[in-house]
Amino acid sequence: MPPSPAAADDALVTLSRVNKWHGALHVLRDISLAVMAHERLVICGPSGSGKSTLLRCINGLESHQSGDIRVDGARHDGRPATLAAIRSQVGMVFQNFNLFPHLTVLENCALAPVWSRRLSRADADATALDYLARVHMAGHAHKFPHQLSGGEQQRVAIARALCLKPKVMLFDEPTSALDPEMIHEVLDILIELAESGMTMICVTHEMGFARRVSNRIVFMDHGEIIEQGSPAEVFDQPKSPRLGAFLGRIMHGDR
């Protein structure tokens, strides 16, 4: 097997030659990628390019048919115990927040500390309040999700994922479902998180944000990684015509 481009034994997340099909559709083609600790990776590309699928394969929400995915040394092997071990290292934030509507903000956040990390209820609540304070939502701890704005819900969702104490955070278009005036409050949290040294893999169309926080941009199209590099390389000197065309489209304001 040829070495993956960024192969490194000390990588936190490694994908080597990952392939996935949905029926006849080849959604991930020979994806190889290594993400080091404290890296802030942004994945961009047109819709249907496989970005979200890639994220969802990392924490096993979707399975892949060939190739290897490793998180913190553990390889996805289909065993429930491995899956649980991997998921407890990976936090995920979704486009539609997916907060549990029947639980308060605090209960949403305390669920993983109690049932995944086996903390006592008091410790779990303390952890939850701590992370809620970091996303400036501690004052809303006893509200239900429907009483919050979209931006506030997404901040709670970030706190909920952080309560798992993950080594890597996955963000699947975290601002795409938000009204424009709420995007910044969420991006500010992501920037703070990046500055704290969290390893992040973020699928987003927010190119200003990508340029500011990421140290590597990966461009995908039709299930393939077409190009990757620093924000300056990718945004200012795109090599492939597909990336050029994509950047042209999103820079002209139609997201």
Binding site: R87, S88, M92, N98, S116, F144, P145, H146
Partner: protein, 271 residues
């Protein structure tokens, strides 16, 4: 779906409620006036009411009347619930054997009349040596029949919880039973309770079918008193009113459960 979300009634909702109560009162009054025109023998009803309600035991010392109706319904409710949860799990399972057994059972018991099922269990099974008492036959038939319907209700409630909820729970590395009971079930219950409540009310009334096996429940007593005294109107109206009152109690319980599981519900509406 009727959802009472805001605890503080606004002027509009208060006016709405007042008018609803007023209309109910007028309709009830009309009904009572109509009954009065029938010149019913009220002393006879008063004499038989304690028996109809089951305040007195039957001659052989067993509960009777409305008490027996409630007993049959509540027992069948619990058994049906158990059967339905197991069946719904099979229906949602990816195991072909479990899926097949669950769908076969549901199809069989939804596709045949309850009365036929009662008779098969009570009258036909003894032919092959299985002799069940009237009460257990009734309980089994009601449980199996309603279990099949309830299983479909539970299945559709579980499937109506957005996929993102399960995914978010899985991403939090929660154990499977926590995902099922703390994340999915409370949200599914909100959707399951209204149709399940309707099923239980309907079961309360279908429990009168066990009267054909000679169980002295409400309908059986009303009919036998009516036959001996030729007071059909009195006894059947009395029985109907008792059934109705019991149904209203069931509906009130359902309403309370709906409120309880409706917490945080506006999110679903806003989505």
């Amino acid at each position: 779906m009727a959802i009472e979300d805001v605890p503080l009634p606004t002027a509009t909702t208060r006016r709405f409620r007042q008018r609803v109560w007023l209309t109910w009162a007028v309709l009830a009054l009309l009904l009572a006036a109509g009954a009065h025109e029938l010149h019913l023998d009220f002393p006879y009803i008063a004499q038989k009411l304690p028996f109809l309600l089951g305040l007195k035991l039957s001659p052989d010392g067993f509960i009777q009347g409305a008490a027996l109706t409630i007993f049959v319904t509540v027992c069948s409710m619990f058994c049906a619930l158990l059967v339905a949860v197991v069946t719904a799990t099979g229906r949602l399972s990816r195991n072909p054997l479990a899926f097949a057994i669950a769908t076969f059972y549901a199809s069989l018991f939804r596709g045949t009349p309850l009365l036929v099922q009662v008779l098969i269990i009570y009258l036909a099974l003894p032919q092959i040596g299985v002799v069940l008492g009237a009460l257990s036959s009734g309980l089994i038939a009601l449980s199996l029949n309603y279990g099949a319907y309830l299983a479909e209700t539970i299945r559709s409630g579980v499937m109506a919880v957005p996929a993102g909820q399960r995914e978010a729970a899985m991403a939090l590395a929660l154990p499977r039973w926590v995902i099922t009971w703390k994340v999915i079930a409370p949200q599914a219950l909100r959707l399951i309770i209204p149709p399940a409540g309707a099923l239980f009310v309907s079961m309360l009334k279908d429990s009168s079918l066990v009267s054909i096996m000679g169980l002295w429940e409400l309908n059986f007593l009303a009919q036998s008193y009516a036959r001996t005294s030729y007071h059909y109107m009195e006894m059947l109206i009395a029985a109907a009113l008792i059934y109705w009152s019991l149904s209203i109690v069931f509906e009130l319980v359902q309403l309370r459960l709906e409120r309880h599981f409706g917490k945080g519900v506006a999110v679903a509406g806003a989505r």
